[in-house]
């Protein structure tokens, strides 16, 4: 299988753009960066690359094993690349949605959300445990349709590269037509926000149309002061804790839960508890909406 990863070639560009954004932040908003937070984000990015090297071969082998069972022989025509890119982005949407709604997957994806800052270094804050979280399963349908694993890996790489630039507060809004179709800084700020209205919204990778199609779109509103991160902020700059805290949380919860509820802490949404003592994002949003309804009109 051809071994070409476009992300490798994009890394110098990532570094350069982080530098440019830092210079912007120094002039306009120094609080948008925090050196320890940036170090953690970059450390997570580096660790994620190492994890990818260790497990990428396994996933490639699995994809190659599944590919012979394909329904169609799509081949390498030019249109196949475009179709693969679009369908891969839809697969990403569903992966991402599950990564927020199933705690086992969230334990891995939470790494990307654990910064209270939203800048280009946050884009590089990637998981070390993605393979354990089974995210690779979501691209299996593409193999079964008939797209070659190398084509899927290439499109997934392009998808990841696209997702880098919109992790910024330096760009407010893009042209309307672009905001309507594509994922943008504005849409993705909503995704990283912990404001109740914004929780679990805008899962898109490249095309925001998936959120509009599947009912998870939320535009950024002027009257919502965004706060970033996770519902229970870590309050720690310990790299290992950042990488593994949710896995440890799952292990503790499973250990302490009654037998009938143990599995719920693995597959139910983050924040679920057998005794109702915690809040899921749905519960938080409902509470917030109830508060808005009860608040006197201004």
């Amino acid at each position: 299988m051809p071994d070409f990863n476009p992300v490798t070639y994009a890394i110098p560009g990532f570094v350069l753009l982080v530098l440019v954004e830092m210079i912007w932040a120094r002039r306009k908003a120094p609080e948008k960066y925090e050196p320890r937070d940036t170090l953690i984000s970059l450390g997570m990015g580096l660790g994620s690359n190492v994890a990818g090297l260790l497990t990428g071969g396994l996933i490639a082998a699995l994809y190659l094993a599944v590919y012979p069972f394909r329904l169609l022989d799509i081949g390498w025509q030019w249109w196949a690349w475009i179709l693969c890119f679009v369908l891969d982005d839809m697969a990403y949407y569903w992966f991402h949605r599950f990564a927020h709604r199933v705690r086992w997957m969230w334990a891995s994806h939470v790494n990307h959300h654990s910064s209270q800052h939203y800048n280009l270094s946050t884009a590089l804050r990637q998981t070390w445990t993605g393979t354990i979280a089974l995210g690779f399963l979501f691209r299996m349908p593409l193999l079964l349709i008939g797209f070659h694993p190398a084509m899927i890996f290439f499109c997934a790489g392009l998808n990841l590269i696209y997702q880098f630039w919109f992790h910024t507060e330096a760009i407010k809004k893009c042209p309307r037509w672009f905001e309507a179709v594509m994922n943008t800084p504005s849409h993705h700020r909503v995704h990283h926000a912990t404001n109740p209205l914004y929780l679990d919204r805008n899962y898109a990778g490249v095309f925001i149309v998936w959120d509009k199609l599947f009912g998870t779109f939320q535009p950024e509103l002027d009257d919502q002061r965004i706060h970033y991160g996770i519902v229970k902020q870590l309050g720690s700059f310990n790299l290992l804790w950042v990488a593994f805290h949710e896995w440890i949380g799952i292990a503790r919860d499973v250990w302490n839960a009654p037998w009938g509820s143990k599995f719920g802490y693995v597959w139910r949404p983050p924040g679920w508890s057998h005794d109702g003592s915690r809040d899921t994002s749905d519960a938080i949003r409902e509470r917030w909406l109830a508060m808005q309804r009860e608040a006197p009109a201004e």
Binding site: P35, L42, F237
Partner: protein
């Protein structure tokens, strides 16, 4: 293998260099809670539905203790250029030293914080005892 190790070494250097540049550029902020209203806003943002009815603000603004009408107590403290919070429960501990109250959440990675609460320190130290596990030295 050697190529990959070199790549890894280069990446480590690049990561450290970027973080160093971030610090050298003076990025980050010395954030402080400027008022009781700001503390209340931060608490409400941290936990939807938390409406503080009582609070004690650290004199330097690095943290605060807040209580809502349900009796829940929240510790708010600085974390880098942001704030992080925890509801205090029976695992929390508090140590009073004149106007200074050191509070731990029982969560090792969240750490402890010492707040200068002025003449409110003693009252809050005493009220934290009712959380169950809070201890005093």
């Amino acid at each position: 293998m050697l190529e990959q190790l070199l790549q890894l070494g280069g990446s480590v250097v690049a990561v450290l260099l970027l973080a160093w540049i971030c610090a050298k550029l003076g990025l980050g902020a010395d954030v402080r809670i400027g008022s009781e209203d700001e503390a209340k806003r931060l608490a409400a943002e941290a936990l939807c539905g938390f409406e503080a009815t009582e609070l004690a603000l650290d004199r330097a603004g690095i943290g605060a203790l807040l209580r809502d009408k349900e009796g829940r107590v929240m510790l708010l403290r600085r974390h880098g250029a942001m704030f992080a919070s925890r509801l205090l429960d029976s695992h929390a501990f508090a140590r009073l030293d004149r106007n200074f109250l050191t509070i731990g959440t029982g969560e090792e990675t969240f750490g402890k914080v010492t707040l200068d609460l002025g003449d409110k320190a003693q009252v809050w130290a005493s009220s934290l005892r009712h959380l169950g596990g809070a201890t005093h030295a």
